[in-house]
Point group: D2
Chain length 390, copies 4
Amino acid sequence: MQSMPDVSPTKWHLAHTTWFFETFLLAEHDPGYSLFDPDFGYLFNSYYEALGDRHPRPCRGLVTRPSLERVRDYRRAVDECLVASLDGFAARDDWPHIAALIDLGCHHEEQHQELLLTDIKHVLAQNPLAPAYHDAPATEEGRAPDLAWHAFEEGVYEIGHQGDGFAYDNETPRHRRYVHGFALASRLVTNGEYRAFIEDGGYGDARLWLSDGWDWVRAGSRTAPLYWRRADDGWQQFTLHGLEPLDEDEPVAHLSHFEADAFARWAGARLPREEELEIAVRLHGEAGPVNDLGSGRLHPAIAPAAARGPLLQLQGDVWEWTQSAYMAYPGYRPPPGAVGEYNGKFMCNQYVLRGGSCVTPAGHWRPSYRNFFPAHAQWQFSGVRLAKDL
Amino acid sequence: MQSMPDVSPTKWHLAHTTWFFETFLLAEHDPGYSLFDPDFGYLFNSYYEALGDRHPRPCRGLVTRPSLERVRDYRRAVDECLVASLDGFAARDDWPHIAALIDLGCHHEEQHQELLLTDIKHVLAQNPLAPAYHDAPATEEGRAPDLAWHAFEEGVYEIGHQGDGFAYDNETPRHRRYVHGFALASRLVTNGEYRAFIEDGGYGDARLWLSDGWDWVRAGSRTAPLYWRRADDGWQQFTLHGLEPLDEDEPVAHLSHFEADAFARWAGARLPREEELEIAVRLHGEAGPVNDLGSGRLHPAIAPAAARGPLLQLQGDVWEWTQSAYMAYPGYRPPPGAVGEYNGKFMCNQYVLRGGSCVTPAGHWRPSYRNFFPAHAQWQFSGVRLAKDL
Amino acid sequence: MQSMPDVSPTKWHLAHTTWFFETFLLAEHDPGYSLFDPDFGYLFNSYYEALGDRHPRPCRGLVTRPSLERVRDYRRAVDECLVASLDGFAARDDWPHIAALIDLGCHHEEQHQELLLTDIKHVLAQNPLAPAYHDAPATEEGRAPDLAWHAFEEGVYEIGHQGDGFAYDNETPRHRRYVHGFALASRLVTNGEYRAFIEDGGYGDARLWLSDGWDWVRAGSRTAPLYWRRADDGWQQFTLHGLEPLDEDEPVAHLSHFEADAFARWAGARLPREEELEIAVRLHGEAGPVNDLGSGRLHPAIAPAAARGPLLQLQGDVWEWTQSAYMAYPGYRPPPGAVGEYNGKFMCNQYVLRGGSCVTPAGHWRPSYRNFFPAHAQWQFSGVRLAKDL
Amino acid sequence: MQSMPDVSPTKWHLAHTTWFFETFLLAEHDPGYSLFDPDFGYLFNSYYEALGDRHPRPCRGLVTRPSLERVRDYRRAVDECLVASLDGFAARDDWPHIAALIDLGCHHEEQHQELLLTDIKHVLAQNPLAPAYHDAPATEEGRAPDLAWHAFEEGVYEIGHQGDGFAYDNETPRHRRYVHGFALASRLVTNGEYRAFIEDGGYGDARLWLSDGWDWVRAGSRTAPLYWRRADDGWQQFTLHGLEPLDEDEPVAHLSHFEADAFARWAGARLPREEELEIAVRLHGEAGPVNDLGSGRLHPAIAPAAARGPLLQLQGDVWEWTQSAYMAYPGYRPPPGAVGEYNGKFMCNQYVLRGGSCVTPAGHWRPSYRNFFPAHAQWQFSGVRLAKDL
């Protein structure tokens, strides 16, 4: 099921992540390997031009065959081959290169675990019956703590991936950046705060919006975030647990960059720059439990009342839109070959999001992690934290 | 799975045909009936404006719930209620009206049996693997007989439904029409004949096409019928049995009105008028077995060599495009209420096809039967028989 | 200036009509003629595929050069050549063929005289200042006479062009048609009657509309005819004399086929068939003065109160939409060569209008005249006369 | 004449620049002023939402009235009023604010002087006759000098407007930026170098393009810059002097950001960042004559052979695409009121260009000047200078 071109069917995610291992590991590095099905390269290549033609993205939903069962066979067969090849790989001279590809394949699959859930949410939301994907967790009581501001000093900071662990190429190289004094809000913006923006006429006041954003509002006759629905007795929100009354204290989610930016302007603040969030999380990283996929909640949570530090929710809950266009770091070079298409070619007309979400697999995220989507995208768990110049 | 707005998912066809019985029979005429699921009216109403809002046609493919199993329960439940109600209905004063609705519901379901197969064919054709729906029948040998012309005399003829049997409202009233002398080809146009048109540059010669047709050719960069594919060793054709070499003697299928019209012009002939085909079939109806859904072949067949009359293939194989715009017969009145939307409101920018196809259920067709599609439609089994003025 | 693809700039009309004479008369039949400017064929060919490539229709408005002055030189030069060649032509054996082309060129230019005014009206209507093309005539007082019905008998009638005068190929051949008993309204539908349709919710009731028409209403959020504007103190109408209060007694104009058809259904009537209007005008042709371009009014006029016969306004005022799809008459053959593209290739997805309008040049119209436009077209002076079955 | 939504008619430019003075100076600061025509605000407001509704940009070409003559009257009347008011303004307390608006109005008009020429070029290029706007200057002989690289040191630099002169808000505030070591090419890329990219298959190799750029290439079937045309005897280029043979030594012009970026990747280099070009021009500003509008050439010129410094053509000839997304400088604040819409709201999905072009009015440009267009825009005189990391 493919509810819009950006969404992929569950079956496709399952097959594509296995195709990634088959293509970049087995087919390229195991001379004795023969493809499970030569047609699968065409069907399950996502966007790697260097690997030849492929099934068009908007048509992924049309592929009724192979069946789900056969895709599961594919996953099993490739997994078994890969496991069987590991000892041989590890004994080779090019093992560091192969190991890096295995690492990449695992992180790639984790990205698709997140997309799989955001895509399923989008599909179910198209259904007038508003079906639930999952039972709701026990209701969470509580109020969001008052918003406070935390200041950071002007100066030269180091930005980008640090250390030996895994990182995508777009997080490198680590480099110096001059940062002017700024302040960040202590928590994410809530549904209640966003509702005040709506009730103050936010979607009708052109002066709050970027020019492209205002066109987007009018072309789509937009008056609320993607999954909000106005009911007779107040706002509802479509979630992975079905349609629920809007909780005013939860972080607002599924905003476009346009909406996040307009809200910030209305609030007398601005969106953070991506380096500001990276600096913040390095200095004041999450002390308590993180609401990511590991929590099983599948929905953003109210910020904890008992403050565990100056900044809450820096990790998990919702991806935080920044005002930073997605651009190459100074000295950036994509790796050679088809995997070089993983990130670099998308550095155009996209904006960076930071911090991970409630459906990001546990352990997937890093402080230098750069997610990116076009300014109109709403179907990810994307929200906003306010920032200010000092 | 919905491969284009005109195509509906199999599950939708199954539910919609049951919804038709539930809505027009049980809900309207059985006061004790309570709906199987009140949401289904929104999901499975096709186009009846009088019955309120409904799920948009291009979004039928997005409905992952209810599941197929629940739709089957729906079919079973409504069928059982209907059967249980029959005796009661038959005892009532309005039984003739109810009986007519039951009749309509059955013919409606037969129409969807045909659409279900043409829709599945379209879905499978989008798949680069070209999967088969069904095993191919034993290969048919033979050659199409030579084309001959059969003449009909000028005069006033009666056109439209005759007798007591079932007919759609658009086949009525029976009325007089002045018909000028004409001749019809003895059989359908074959793939081989159509290939000669292609090889003669038919798709590149603007003078052969209607103006709208020429725009359609260029906008779609069209060079062959919908399911033809040029392979290294000649033409192939996607069928419900998968991809097969093109049989030159079979009737050409899946033409648009534009293609049928251009071919006829190239051949020095013209498309028939709908009344001409009705006159022909009344005078020279099929004597032998008909290649409709009852044959199980699911594909057009070569015309029988041993001629059984002056005109072959008047019924079954492929729907025959006419030059007749789909218009109301003199004195036509749609029935009152929502069922009045069945035919009348579509009498605009569509063209009539006659004769039934290889996937029309046995017994569904009548000589006065009017099928209709827009001039660009190709996904039905639609072909062409040539006509001439005398 | 080109306000939509259907509209052509005034300069283009001036050049194209001269190009028609240059191409079909001088270049083809005068061996000594050399083209005024070889580039003009590309610029000013409207749609004749047989004459090669041409400037795309939607781009006509982009041609700032040649200047208007040079186009006027072009007109003068071609006119002079043509006049100078006439005696020579008249002495030749093929004079009848040449004379027929001259006739065609004159009628072609008359058609463009009408289009020039409807196109200018459309251009000025886009301007928020609503400028007038022409001073308004003295205001006309009066009331539309009551609507009456006039009946016609069932039988076989002859339809199509009769006699030796000029006619387009699409009016031929004259042929027999079986016509069922019908009645026509004595005058055109008025603005006041159409306003009642609007106020009765006509644009909001799907049951009144053809399915394509209802899509057209919703896609365009339409609530009134093309040039109507709702002002604080009632309806206004943009005319060639600028913005004016709506006169309730004038014929309604600038309806699409969809609007005419929906109005007729709301009124418990139907659109006429084209043969019905041809029969009516032959039997009860206009006795009094006709409101065509000769009247200088450039706007439809109230039907005369002193009835001059059973049927008023059969000629002039507004083109009358029929329910007849534009199709070939039995035995129709387009002439050979490029002029064969004049009419025949447009016989698809268009509807016939009859009777001429207030901007049709005097003497241009005939009882067998068939105008045709797509069902959504509104920018011609197009209105409606009601019909009924007997 | 409006050949695409981005292009405005000449008459509109003339009226809009006067409207700017009338609106922001006279109407706002001269209490006795009455508007020349109250409708002009609707017609000639470009994009200031705070000033109310306005005529849609894509429809500017439809406004045949007011005439050019009346627009000239408008310009004369507003100019006279403004001159007459100057002494009174200068005596007031808010004179600094008013003087700044006058300054802004003048720079605004200079921007439109440039747009007027690029828009006229685009309009004339649509004409199959390829008319010239202006006589060609005397042909320039010569060869582009060899390309050399000039290095710049890593460190903290000050970026942004400096001093008391005029600048747009988007050039402020001046701020510190950490810049890594880089090198710039000594001159612009030439037509000959770009032709080598084409001949090496540049438009057919997906690996060279940003993902959005590759979509743009395929959707538009692009194979060369906007105004290049392949003739039988080699490449031609449409210029303001008409169609001319391509000069291999002239700078390539009318590239999109996508093309500039793909060329740089093919050349083993990258696009500069905007701060790199600002640093370069401050350190090595143009010593010799600049090819801007003052030269009267209206076309880029070959770089001078006798080098006048390490870097040529930093100013004039063509705007230089950078890899920098157009974003707010740290601490940026748009001015209050409608003039705050001048720049800030466009900081989304646009890329910065630096250096001015051959049609930028003399004296208009500054080293901190930031021009910006979407990545697909080609109709400005936009080219490329290569950069490298050190």
